[in-house]
Amino acid sequence: MTEQPITFDAQDFPRRSRRAFLKNSGVLLGTLWAGSSALMALAPSRSWALEMSTLDEATGRNLLSFCRRIFPHDTLDDAVYALVVKDLDAAAAKSAEVKQMLADGSAALDKAAGGAWLKLTPAAQDKIVAGLAGSPLFKKVHGTAVVSLYNNELAFAHFGYEGNAFNHGGGYLLRGFNDLKWLPDPTPAASPAPFTGA
C-alpha cells in the first residue's frame, strides 16, 4: 500500500468567489483570528467567505452565532462555525420547509433579543438558547453542528486531533503512539517493545 502525501481539501474551507456577488444569495465574510494559527497553516488565505445558495446574510450570521452558544469553544474561529452554516444552507436549498424554519428561527432570535440577536452578550444569548432547547430550530442546528462542526480538518487542527492517519504519514508506530512522558513507562511484561523489523 502506498502512503499519500498530506493534503488539505481547500473545498472544505469557506472561501470567496466572484459568483457570490453576481446573484442574490447571502455571503458571510470573515478574517481568521490572529490566534487561529493552527487554521492559518491550512487556509489558502486569512480572509474567508461563505457563499450561501439559499439563506440570506442576516439569517446566516444569526445561525452562526446561535451555533456558537450551543457548542461554545471560545477560541474556535468563526470560519469553522461557518461550515455548519454551509450545511444548514445546503439543507435549506433542498427543503422549502427547512428554509422557512431557519428563517423564522432567525427572526425569532432577534425578537427574543428585543431587536438584534447579534448585539446581545453571550451570557444574555445563553439564557435565550436554554429556553429554545428542544425547539425545531435548536434540534436542526444542534443535529447538524454535532457532525459538521467536528468533522473537518480545521476542527481537527484546532482540537489537536490528527485525523486520517493513513493519508497523513501512516500509522503512529514510528511517530508518537507511545510518546507520553509525564507518567512512568509500563513494564515490558505489561507492554512489550514494538516490532519494528522487516
Partner: protein, 521 residues
Amino acid sequence: MVTYAHQDDSVVVIIGSGAGGGTLANELCQKGIKVVLLEAGKRQSPATFINDEWAAFGQLSWTDKRTTSGSWRVAKDFPNLPAWICKTVGGTTTHWAGASLRFQEHEFHVKTLYGEMAGANLLDWPLTLKELEPYYARAEDKMGVTRTHDIPGLPGNNNFKVFYNGARKMGYGASTGHMAINSQPRAGRGSCQQYGFCFQGCKSGAKWSTLYTEIPAAEQTGKLELRTECHVARIEHDAKGRANAVVYFDKDGKSRRQKAQVVCVAGNSIETPRLLLLSASNLFPDGLANSSGQVGKNYMRHTTGSVYATFKEEVHMYRGTTMAGIIQDEAEHNPKRGFAGGYEFETLSLGLPFMAAFLNPGGWGKDFGEALDNYAHMAGLWIVGEDMPQESNRVTLHATEKDQWGLAVPNVHYDDHANDIALRQHAYKQAKALYESVGAKKVYEVPPYPSTHNLGTCRMSAKARDGVCNKWGQTHDVPNLFISDGSQYTTGAAENPTLTIVTLAIRQAEYIAKQMTARAL
C-alpha cells in the same frame, strides 16, 4: 471461483460472513464441504478502508431501518440505530477492536451460581469450559491472539500508559491483553502499524477479520461460493419440517431461491432471530425453530459504558490501537460488590467526530464544549460486563414498518436489569478513581453506545423447551438448521464475544461434517 446451481440441494448455505459465518464457511470448506455464503453487504479490503469515522461508518455499518423501545438511553438518542454492527463481507470483524478473552469457567453455569435473580431468565449453558478449551486454542491460533501460542503482547500506546498507571495505583493488574492483532508478522499478514482506526477497518490487515483470512482461505479450497449483496428474506422447509431452501434478494433486487442440504444462520443477534420470525409458516406458525417461544428473547448487549478523563498534560489517546489495554481484576463473580457477575476494563478511544457524537448524545453548552476543548488531553476506557438475560428484552418484528425489501423491520427492546445498573455504577466509580489517581482534572461517565455486542436471541439450552438450539448450535426443532453466531449465547459472560463465537463455529463445523458423513443431516 466455483459457482453452484440454485437447484443444487447438496450445499450448505451460510447466511452472514462475520466471525461466526465466515469462520464456519472456511472450516467446512477445509473439510471438502460445498458452501454457499450469502452476505448482505459489499466486499471491501484494507485498500478501500477509510481512516475517517463518519465515512467508514457509512461504508461498513448496517444502517437498514430498525426501531427501538424500552428504557435504555439508546432508544432515545439513536432510535433507529440500536446496534453499531456491519453489513459488509467479514461482517463486524471489520469493525471489532480485537479483544479476545476466554470465558471464565463459572460463566457457563451462572444460573446455578447466582441463584434466583428476580426478572432474569437465567439458564446454564449446556457446555463447560473444559469442552471448549481445545477449540479456544484453535481459535486463538487462527486469529493470532497475543500472549497465546508464543505470540508477544502488543506495545501499549499513550492511552494505555494512563490506564496502566491508574491501574497500578488502584492495585489492579493491567496489560495490553489478549488481542487478535498481529504484534509481529504472522500468517501472511503484517504487524500493527498503530493507525488508531481499528473500528474503521484495519488498513494494515494486522487485526484479524474473516474478510482477509477465513474467506480467502475458503475460496482457495475451490469449495466456497461467496455471493455478496444478497439479503436473505426467508428460510423454507419441506413437508417434514426440514430446511430445504433460502430465498434472498440479489444485488439487482431480484428474488432468488437457493436449495440447501443444511442452513446456518449467522446474521448477528438482531437479524438472525428476525429471519427465523420472518420464516413463519403453517408448520411453524410462531417462526422457524421457535417451539420454545424463545426466538428473539433474552437479547443481551453487555452492560457497557465508557469513562473519559481529561488531564493537564497531553495524551493523544487516538494514536495507535483503539483497545489494547485490559484490566481483569473486576471480572470475577464477587457478590460483596452488590451485584452478580463481573466486568472488564479495556482502553478505548474515539476520534474527535465520534467523541462529539457519543460523549453525551444530545448534550450541548459550556460543559460539553469544555470536554471537547480538552480532547487532546483525554484518556478513555470501556466497561464490558455481564448483563442479565430477560425475556422482555427482545427482538420482534415491527407491526407496520417495512424495509427496502418490504420485510418487517426488527424492533429491539431493552431495559437494564437492576443488576446491570449496579454493575455499571460500580464500574463508573472504580474507573473514576483510577483516573483521579493519576491526576484527572475531570472525569466523564459516558452512556452505552449503540450495541456492538449483540447476544442471546436464539439461545443454547439442554432442553428444547428452554431455548432454540442445542450445544452444537443445532436448532431443537429443525435438525438441519444451525445458529452460528452470538445469538447462541445462553448468558453473556463478561468477555468480548468474538473469540467465543469463532470457537463455537470451529466446533460446530466439526459436528456438521461428522453428521453429514453419517448422513444424519
